[in-house]
Symmetry: D2
Subunit: 368 residues, 4 copies
């Protein structure tokens, strides 16, 4: 199932070591400003070249928009984006043939898809495939921009180091000028230290991120099975490596009394509004005009340079694996960008479902 | 959006103080054993009569199966189940008219659905509506029983009290003989104490639950947007009050090194298997034959007997609300049963999607 | 698969001789005028009491709206409608046990659903189940009324008698005051004669209908798989007995030259418009502001009072069947009302998909 | 809406004069034989080089499979196929700018998508886009081959000439060795004559086709909204130019008495079977083991070399259009191949929905 969304729909494809990864984005209103530059910018945001260990070669992606866009405007028809895979040295993976890497999807894919599965580089389960989601996110963000919604995330935990500073939305925006988007400089320093330590150990680390959606209008989301938080939870767990998800003040709420957890309601500018926002901008899964926010946690990337116990599936006997292929010390920063993207996809979908943008006529360029 | 699932689909309806809540379950294979007794049993599991404060009157639900079942067998056609609402005293809610209760869905519903919305008892957002999900769960469990899958949950945290004992699946099964399904007797005692305390304060408490799925065959779930954990996260956040969700070892994994987090792979009975199960039975979102497990946390129920700050939407000015209607000190136990049910729905859906049960012919009663 | 539609969704249930048939209508905007009277009126339109052989007892349906409507307004939540089946004498069907009636769905249901299937009265395949679609159509028509769209059909062929008169939309409207909605009085007389003849023969007849949608705004429908005519073709073939469907001028277009078939384009009231309407109001499957129209043909009802060759599935040997149960000389008039209803469902869905009605706020009763 | 199907899903993209058209095919079981040759063969079947006026240059398509296939086997992951558009001379279309061609989708697209829409060559509404459907059909046919189902069509009417010979399935198979797949040689001669006449007139012609599905197992299709004929009707009307669709004996059934229309049931090889097949292999929309067949009619292609009345949308005044771009005297043969393809897509979807092919494990290459 590689299609996601109801009115704003994305369909992804591609394996890590195949010809390309890509996405078809369908349901986009016509006449919306969208250029290759918009896609390029989002693909660049996931490069993190300032921390070389995260992206040694730091080359830009080669991508093409095959359809649905003309002269900087969407056409209303499906937008197909292909991101070409680079020539990669896959020979190493021959050695891994039939030896599922612990923690990777390999074993599951062998069982479900068989020995012919192209597991090189993680195949369809690779973090590489999130590039397609990031491209789709660029289109979704163009839709959201039209209705004044901004989606923005930052790293809140890495290798066990958590941020402790309080911060504003502006701090989050500015954090993107740092090597990693971390609002707390002291924590950032320790995180970079932790990355170094992990590299030295030949090991990997996990972490956590927070994503905000600002300017979200009230009335988005629907009971029982169209709640914003439910759709975003599904979206988040679709990004490889997610192991935990908390909405608003999250798990801390479970330890409070109701009188402590409830957000009082007040009047702001003649409209009812939440006085605090432990609820993360939702009541009954429906937006009320307050910012949305959630956190997600990622397990460490499974590839490590240490001997691990696995099975030789050909002989069906235990064996030891020392992985020597390309290895990510952490996928948290890249995954954050993918999480932003999929968040934008969910919200663009709900904006369209709610009818906030009409699609019987173009946003611009109407004739009559 | 009140339909959920792709091949095994449920469509729910009903308001708290309307005539009925209910569900249409579609996609059920024909010839499967299913009786009113199966539905009754699940609806009873959410009553918790041994702790009177959770359910003072403790009357059984009145429900009817309107279609799709004949002489203890499913017909292959949609199964409509109506659970009649009892005569309820709604007059109290007149007082609340236009005063959204903090923490409840009221404000969102007023904004989205308008002043005519039947907010009494929480309307469509009420925990009452999960009775329909529990009924659907009874059908899903019948499907799962046919393929040897069992779904079972227990309470792991209530009012800040967490269980600390280690436990087996059998302990979980046996815990259902206690007033609340808690494997740790010392914790159970403190939880009941906490309930009493909350009642005395006129306040409410939240908590956490864990759900297991045993006997799940390998090969269920699909990339990118059909991962089992993603579908279950969406399902869980569809149950009112869920604020956090962790898959397998969850957030703790984010603090480990990769070499600590990965489950080694070994050979069991001539088949590859996980040696440990921090992954909660999934790799790449696909089952590998190990048990599935996750935890979910619930905020305290928003209705409390303390003055709370809200807004009179008629006058659009601040006011204070003292709620006097029916009030649940905690919804965690009931919500656990709903979470079990929706988990069964997701897994039954994936069993059908994978083609494990054929639907071009009946399970029993085939002619040719 | 008993759910239909994307934003305006209906889920039907019920067997002919079960407790009830019914429907859950989801996605309906809040604050729309809708009463039990609206549903009653549509259910009455399919009664045709003036031709007693079509409906001997002519009793009104007993139905209940269980949810989603309050004080004559939709709530925005799912609308469940149950239409109770009358006490029926099913004993006759015992005789038919394991003898599939030729032309009926019996054989297919036996093969797919097994010997336990409740085939009495046609079970799930019965025309009876279209009552649920007609009820859903009442809700869809309320949505369409809000945007100025009217759906209206008439009978154009019955028992081989075709109408020959030309007619206006007003003629179609007025035809509903006749025993059958037929614009051509001479043809109507022959049709009634044909009904009598068929009854005397103990046989059944088929026919054809035409459905119009007036006031449809331009811009509805989408390539490749959201074309209005494609969605309506699917909808039409979902009504039992449909064997042919023609859009606009239909099959006659296939014999014309392009220069004869194309509708010239002209300017009307400062807007581009079709000068003729062979296209049935669609170009590329998308509405252009002209009326929509299509025709559908129904085979004769399969139950006849003549000996028919079938198989005794128990002994698996040929046998002869003389059907003596309740029998419809023709279902064309009832089916027309169902076709109108499902047409309204499709158009309401497209109105919502296009965002013509916003659903982040109510149509009436908005607070802010 | 450019996605079609539930378990076997296709998502198409591309404009006539854009970079490419293409499709993502999702839900394909793993381990199924599939090569580039399979796609090439289907794309070649729509070329009809023996009648030069149908395809003057007769060059093969350039296409790439970007994902989901490895060494002649499906991977179980989405299969993306890109068919590159050739360099085309689009300059002619400048002249057409803002002058919608009668009968084309232009007007609808201008209204819905605005003046920026890339209408060149018909844009998204072009017959060109059916190449993507044909490519998807190649994958669907590979699925069907695995379960013994064959889909095959032929031309039954062209430019008003109808075939009159009776014919067998073998005749249909052999007809593909002729310049056009027509079973009746006399009719074929007249059709070719009609093509010549239309070319001389600078006009275009329509026609009709018949599609058969052989070897379809019983039990496919579901009430109310999963009937095979309903899904195929929707599929057919998704192909540009379809104006009529008849299932089985079609419209002729509407003129019969029930006793004439019903297919008797008999015993064949110890199983119940239809003695005749006016029903087109379906009862209640569900397959019973008999061959499926339907007919579809196409209007003439709208582009003709005669002056036609249209509107200059810039000045909003009437004007005359003489089309001089590339022009198809008829699209019926190409459309037939597209109709075969989409029929295969629908049936592959139902085969998977019914669970006839399991997808928790590969068809070939299973490990355990």
């Amino acid at each position: 199932m590689n299609t996601f969304g109801r009115e704003f729909r994305i369909t992804t494809f591609g394996e890590s070591h195949g010809k390309a990864v890509g996405v078809v984005v369908d349901g986009v209103p016509a006449g919306l400003p969208l250029s290759e530059e918009d896609v390029k910018r989002e693909l660049e945001r996931r490069m993190f070249c300032h921390i070389p260990v995260l992206n040694p070669r730091c080359e830009p992606e080669e991508f093409e928009i095959l359809s649905g866009v003309k002269e900087g405007r969407t056409q209303g028809t499906p937008i197909a984006i292909v991101i070409w895979n680079r020539k990669v040295i896959s020979s190493y993976y021959e050695e891994l043939w039939l030896k599922p890497r612990p923690g990777h999807a390999d074993l599951a894919y062998y069982l479900k898809y068989g020995i012919n599965y192209d597991h090189r580089g993680g195949g369809r389960a690779s973090g590489r495939t999130t590039a397609a989601i990031v491209a789709a996110g660029a289109v979704a963000k163009a839709v959201l921009r039209h209705v004044g919604v901004e989606v923005l995330g930052h790293v809140v935990e890495l290798g066990g180091v958590e941020i402790s500073a309080t911060y504003t939305v502006d701090d989050v925006r500015k954090s993107w000028e740092k090597p990693l988007p971390v609002v707390d400089d002291a924590a950032l320093e320790k995180m970079v230290e932790k990355i170094r330590e992990a590299v030295l150990r030949g090991d990997s680390i996990g972490g956590g991120v927070e994503v905000w959606a600002l300017g979200v209008p009230p009335g988005l989301g629907e009971p029982h099975f169209g709640k914003i938080k439910a759709d975003l939870a599904k979206a988040a767990f679709s990004i490889p490596g997610v192991v935990a998800f908390e909405w608003g003040a999250g798990r801390a709420l479970a330890k409070m009394f109701g009188s402590e957890a409830n957000d009082p309601i007040t009047v702001v500018n003649g409209r009812p509004a939440l006085a605090t926002n432990r609820a993360g901008g939702l009541l009954g899964g429906i937006t009320v005009g307050a910012p949305l926010y959630f956190r997600a946690w990622f397990k460490p990337t499974p590839s490590v340079r240490k001997p691990q116990q696995t099975v030789d599936l050909g002989k069906m006997e235990p064996t030891t694996l020392e992985f020597k292929g390309r290895y990510d010390v952490t996928i948290v920063p890249k995954a954050l960008v993918a999480l932003e993207a999929i968040t934008a996809v969910v919200l663009a979908d709900h904006v369209l479902r709610a009818g906030i943008i009409r699609r019987d006529r173009p946003i611009s360029g109407s004739l009559v």
